[in-house]
């Protein structure tokens, strides 16, 4: 499958004006001018195919937003090349803009004092959408995200969740091939987040819209994106299937066995005992290839086993473990 989004060794550097602290420093800024250079993205490469849903993950300052800005034509890479739908985004900005939709989590594109419908109407004119297609899209999308009750209400009267849903619908009204979302679920309550995630998954599977999503929230990725690109300190550190993240970064499933009667010390080869509370024993399964069945087989049939709980670490734990390991490795030198 050919890639519709491609980044080749992309880097982005910024210059920042230095500020000096204190009263004397304030006087100093009057007369001098110094810059520091900041690297936001360093040598990142990846290729996304049509119809994929990709999550772009990383801590603050890792370079997620900068990457999205380069993909959407807002910023020009300092080095390397970006290609979207066969074009260089910043060189053919308007043509590119027609075929993509962008949703900014913290920057609204809706008119604050006017009904949602008015913003949509403006969108129709700017993107030159045929009347019939517009009506159809508006109808089906607003039904999916339940915009009906507040289409005619002023944006300033909407909750954050409602506003976000409206923004996402607006970004899809012109049938874009790619939908970029920059932290779309930030600040939303659980119900709203769920609605947005289900909707995006549906849009991806039913309309074939490619989705690129930056986020802090790992559940966004778990629910929407089978593929994950992870960045940290401006570099790409992982690109692949979500389930491989556990394998790559290491996973430790927690196993809790509850017995009718304390069977005594029960050490196993398939799992590591981490806590012994008599009838309740906690183990860690540190190997991907060992299954629950293997552990139960090892324990045997006549142990009066009452209950078994197996807990997969969520992505957060996986990543936290990864960072802890990285920091430890860094400290160890």
């Amino acid at each position: 499958m050919t890639a519709i989004i491609e980044a080749r060794a992309v880097s982005k550097r910024f210059r920042q004006h230095r500020r000096f602290p204190g009263l004397l420093g304030a006087l100093k800024t009057l007369f001098t001018s110094e810059y520091t250079e900041v690297t936001a993205v360093a040598d990142v490469s990846f290729a996304i195919s049509e119809g994929e849903a990709v999550g772009y993950l990383g801590p603050n300052g890792a370079g997620k937003s900068t990457m999205i800005k380069m993909l959407t034509g807002i910023l020009v890479p300092s080095s390397g090349a970006v290609s979207v739908l066969g074009r260089t985004p910043h060189r053919q900005r308007m043509t590119n803009a027609r075929e993509i939709g962008v949703v900014f989590g913290q920057r609204s594109q809706l008119w604050w004092d006017l009904p949602v419908r008015d913003s949509f109407e403006l969108h129709r004119r700017i993107y030159d959408i045929a009347a019939a297609r517009f009506a159809e899209n508006l109808g089906s999308l607003s039904e999916l995200l339940e915009l009906g009750p507040f289409l005619d209400r002023a944006v300033r009267q909407l909750s954050l969740g409602q506003r976000m849903r409206a923004e996402i619908v607006m970004a899809l009204l012109h049938d874009p091939k790619i939908l970029f979302l920059d932290e779309p679920t930030i600040g939303l309550d659980v119900v709203a987040k769920d609605a947005v995630r289900r909707f995006l998954t549906q849009v991806n599977s039913e309309r074939g819209t490619t989705i690129v999503l930056t986020t802090h929230d790992l559940q966004d990725i778990e629910q929407i994106c089978p593929r994950l690109i992870m960045v940290d300190q401006s570099r790409l550190i992982f690109d692949g299937e979500l389930r491989n993240l556990r394998a790559t970064l290491g996973s430790r499933r927690r196993l809790t066995l509850e017995f009718g009667v304390d069977p005594g010390v029960l050490a196993l080869t398939s799992a590591r005992l981490v806590a012994d509370e008599g009838p309740l024993k906690h183990y860690l399964l540190e190997r991907e290839d060992i299954s629950l069945l293997d552990v139960l087989t090892e324990i045997g049939a006549d142990r009066d086993l009452k209950d078994v709980k197996l807990k997969e670490p969520n992505i957060e734990e996986v990543i936290r473990t990864f960072y802890q390991g990285r920091n430890a490795a860094g400290a160890a030198g």
Partner: protein, 262 residues
């Protein structure tokens, strides 16, 4: 504590160095413009309405730099914004009084404006056109008193208008309104002695006249001993009245904010 606020205000201002140079330039242009106007209308005339050209140059200099050094718009808008959003409620909780806090901060801002802008501009203009010294020692000292009073009055007017924004729901219109009034009645650009006699008599009694006109008239020795003391007294009365007005409005606004939450 209040000293810290003044110092902090000073620091914040200096951080925006582009703005400092620009303000300096803007002020310089303004003063030069008015001196150009006076030089043009006076031509060769010696004295008009009791003032000579050198006196008008000094008038424009003091009016442009000393009596208008402080930027009342910032305070008006800041007060307006904080009462309109109810942010001011925060200050009701702190162990200090909001108006005093404002005054301390604005003294810091005044200090900055005087040192960074008024002083350089004054020096440049004085060197270019020459500035007259005070008419006498008495007038010089009184000028300083009038100048302090001038700052207090414009400060109170700015706070008053900012508070009015609470009921009008906008500070923008009040800013323009006050600006219009000041441009005509404060004597900053046009000395009040140029007004028709009866109008002048009335305008001289309005609080706005103490912002520029009275201080400068005293400096130039246009007022007799008795007149100077009288106007100082009247000025203090106005300051007291304005303080009362501010206190009343502040109390009512604070009451409504704590009850309704802005």
């Amino acid at each position: 504590m209040y000293l810290a606020f003044a110092s902090s205000a000073l620091q914040t201002q200096l951080a925006y160095r582009g703005q400092v140079w620009a303000s300096l330039f803007g002020k310089l242009i303004q003063v030069f413009a008015w001196i150009a106007i006076w030089m043009s209308v006076y031509g060769d005339a010696g004295s008009v309405a009791g003032a000579t050209l050198p006196e008008m140059v000094t008038y424009a200099l003091i009016g442009g730099t000393l009596t208008t050094a402080w930027d009342w718009r910032r305070l008006l808008n800041a007060v307006g914004a904080s009462v309109c959003t109810g942010d001011v409620a925060v200050y009701l909780l702190k162990p200090m009084r909001y108006p005093l806090y404002l005054f301390a901060t604005e003294c810091g801002n005044l200090g900055y404006k005087l040192g960074a802008i008024a002083l350089p501009v004054g020096v440049v203009v004085a060197l270019t056109y020459g500035v007259l010294p005070p008419a006498s020692l008495f007038h010089g000292v009184m000028f300083l008193l009038f100048w302090a009073l001038s700052f207090v009055i414009i400060f109170l007017l700015a706070v008053l208008c900012g508070l009015l924004a609470f009921w009008l729901l906008t500070a923008f219109s009040l800013e323009w309104l006050l600006q219009g009034i000041l441009s005509l009645l404060s004597g900053t650009a046009i000395p009040l002695w140029l007004f028709p006699d009866q109008v002048a008599a009335a305008v001289k009694l309005l609080p706005f006249a103490w912002i520029s006109y009275h201080p400068i008239a005293v400096y130039l020795g246009k007022t007799s001993l008795a007149e100077t003391w009288t106007y100082l007294g009247l000025g203090l009365v106005w300051a007291a009245l304005l303080t009362l007005a501010v206190a009343v409005l502040w109390h009512r606004a604070a009451l409504r904010i704590t009850v309704q939450g802005g």
